[in-house]
């Protein structure tokens, strides 16, 4: 199964706004994507509760996995998102 491992660049980790941006992007993908920390259980990336409960801090490496059509494109998009410091970016609509 295609996977990507990436260190979370957001200063506050995957909480609040960075988590919201990530979960929304994951929900927008055509293929369901799962996320895990190390060898931990993989949880749906489109679930805010599941993603928050991972307690991912700044710099923590997470692994994204997906299967099926468009899996690689979905993983690339989400991995690129996590590699950005989402805290430092102003909301586009504010």
């Amino acid at each position: 199964m295609p996977t990507r491992t990436v260190a979370v660049a957001a200063r506050t980790g995957l909480h609040a706004r960075p988590a919201a941006l990530f979960v929304k992007a994951a929900a927008d993908q055509e293929t369901p994507v799962r996320i895990r920390v190390g060898d931990g259980p993989a949880v749906p990336a489109a679930s805010m509760l599941a993603v928050l409960s991972l307690g991912v801090g700044h710099g923590t490496e997470v692994t994204l996995e997906a299967d099926g059509p468009g899996a690689d494109a979905a993983l690339d998009a989400l991995a690129a998102l996590l590699a950005r410091d989402l805290d430092a970016e102003e909301p586009a609509d504010a």
Binding site: R11, T12, G13, H15, A16, R17, A19, A20, V23, K24, P44, A46, S47, M48, L49, A50, L52, S53, G55, G57, H58, G59, T60, P91, A94
Partner: protein, 554 residues
């Protein structure tokens, strides 16, 4: 309907947000009570109802998010996404199929996720309370009740509640909320801190306010703590006019803090991160009197690295290129647990391993922080001071100062939050460069009253003469040694108390940025001799209420 002919009724609470206002009462809706479970005959319909309720909660949170800005907007948007979470729907579907009605299925699903989050502890544990807010909204929708939360009566109002939690007040609009009045809560409660941050008149611990009917016009005096319920429209208009006059008088004052005869008092601000000061009016502010560094450490599995800390501190130092920035080292521990500290639970967290005491077992966390502060200070033009929280003895103070100096930090001091430290202020100042009095903790430990306790709010009142006496002892030690003694607790934000603190000999007052104009105006109205006279009156009083009355009536 309120009885318009009855004479106004006077209620007494504790004034925590100075200022006057008047308007109609609108109450915070209480979370819905769950009725008894009812048998489910049509599970599909029940599930559809539950899903609709989640969608209604999501839509409500989304609308609130779009009406808010900044951090509140992000928090509410994340809340809306939780309401829309597919795992919640799956959980609810499972419970409905097991025979639960919509409201109970929602309750048990939310409870399960709440426990999961709470078991993770720390920052995530605190998010468990946020989940309650979403649950209340969804359950209210399932029961066909109004959504709990801030009322929106369509006109400016006085917000009345039992007590206010942070989630209740996210996005609170100071354009429509005239004042805050709560039945419970004390001077250091969330309501009090919020009121001062927003510059709203506020009264807490006001017994009887919940019995005042919705729509009744009340006059709120956030200085004396008096609330007059059932005043006429004329009186309300008069109060609002006086309040407007007062505000324009306050904002007319500019420049650094000083008494009427020109004796300087440094007015400083308390911040949690550089972002706190976005858009704040910093005219005449001498710098940051309390830079809380906890935000860097929250929600982390590991302590933040050196470079990350250097960057965050440098950002704050850049705000006051010509001022002073006082950094408080990590104030966490048994009372504010952080997962990576790995501290055991304690039966009395307030009396446990917290503040500087954490460095007994984990000195490397303090060392990294001091090194980061020193590196950021090297690149900054601001005068950077560093201080430790929860210091009890001169030996602890000396060890901290020595550590700070080893990293090249020139000015190192300690906070006075423990009565033992205040009693030995002279000895502390033989080793420390300055003292900063944290009045919230100092009153908790001096009066043996839990900061969280609404029932003991009168004891926690910063006007307690015993607390003022300890502040006086610190200030006197400062005078003898020629070193700076400041106050950085909530007490420093109380304009009526400012001349008293200065009269006791305090040279720096640090508060939320919004509190500065009112404190500056009050100081400018008294010369130093008058301040000293007010300080003597307050010290002579038998309790906090008497001290306040003695000062306000003179």
């Amino acid at each position: 309907m309120p009885d318009l002919d009855a004479p106004p009724r006077a209620l007494q609470g504790i004034g925590v947000g100075p200022g006057l206002s008047a308007g109609a009462v609108a109450r915070m809706a209480a979370p819905p009570a769950l009725p008894d479970p009812r048998p489910v005959t049509d599970p599909e319909r029940e599930l559809a109802d539950a899903v609709r309720a989640l969608e209604a909660a999501e839509a409500d949170l989304r609308a609130r998010s779009e009406a808010a800005d900044g951090e509140a907007r992000d928090i509410l948007s994340a809340q809306a996404m939780i309401a829309a979470d597919p795992t919640l729907r799956d959980g609810v579907a499972e419970r409905v199929r097991a025979g639960e009605d919509a409201a109970h299925a929602l309750r048990s699903t939310f409870d399960r996720h709440r426990e999961l989050l709470a078991s993770l502890g720390g920052y995530l544990g605190e998010r468990a309370a946020d989940l309650d807010d979403i649950a209340h909204r969804a359950i209210a929708a399932a029961l066909g009740r109004p959504m709990p939360g801030l009322p929106s009566p369509g006109h400016p109002f006085v917000l009345v509640a039992d007590d206010l939690a942070p989630a209740d007040t996210v996005g609170l609009d100071t354009g429509t909320v005239l004042a805050l009045v709560t039945e419970r809560g004390g001077p250091t409660s969330h309501t009090a801190i919020l009121a001062r941050a927003l510059g709203l008149p506020a009264v807490v611990g006001c017994a009887g306010i919940l019995e005042v009917p919705e729509g009744t016009v009340v006059a709120v005096d956030g200085t004396s703590g008096q609330v007059r319920a059932g005043v006429g429209d004329d009186e309300a208009a008069g109060v609002r006019a006086r309040a407007a006059e007062e505000r324009s008088r306050l904002t007319a004052g500019r420049g650094p803090g000083r008494t009427a005869d020109g004796h300087p008092v440094d007015l400083m601000v308390n911040i949690g991160s550089a972002a706190d000061l976005r858009g704040a009016d910093l005219d005449g502010v001498a710098g940051v009197g309390l830079f809380r560094t906890e935000f860097l450490f929250l929600g982390r599995k590991d302590a933040p690295g050196l470079d990350e800390q250097v960057a965050a501190y440098a950002e704050a130092f850049a705000l006051f290129p010509e001022g002073t920035v006082v950094v408080r080292t990590l104030d966490a521990g048994a009372d504010k647990p952080l997962p990576f500290l790995g501290l055991p639970e304690e039966p009395n967290p307030a009396l446990g391993v917290r503040g500087l005491r954490v460095a007994r077992d984990r000195p490397e966390i303090l060392d990294t922080q001091l090194e980061a502060v020193a590196r950021a200070a090297e690149q900054a033009t601001a005068d950077v001071w560093v201080m430790a929280p929860m210091v009890s003895t001169p030996v602890e103070a000396a060890a901290f100062v020595e550590r700070a100096r080893a990293f090249g930090l020139r000015t190192a001091g300690v906070m006075v939050e423990v009565p033992a430290a205040a009693l030995r202020a002279d000895r502390l100042l033989q080793v420390a460069d300055f003292l900063s009095i944290g009045t919230n903790d100092l009153s908790q430990y001096t009066l043996a009253a839990d900061r969280q306790s609404g029932a003991l709010a009168d004891l926690l009142d910063p006007w307690q003469p015993a607390l003022l006496q300890l502040i006086a002892a610190c200030a006197e030690a400062g005078r003898r040694s020629g070193r700076s003694v400041g106050v950085c607790g909530e007490a420093a934000a109380d304009p009526a108390l400012a001349p008293v603190l200065v009269g006791l000999g305090v040279t720096k007052l640090s508060m939320s940025a919004r509190s500065v104009p009112a404190v500056r105006a009050r100081l400018a109205a008294h010369d130093r001799a008058a301040c000293e006279d007010l300080a003597r009156r307050a010290l002579d009083a038998a309790d906090a209420a008497e001290a306040r009355a003695a000062v306000l009536s003179s």
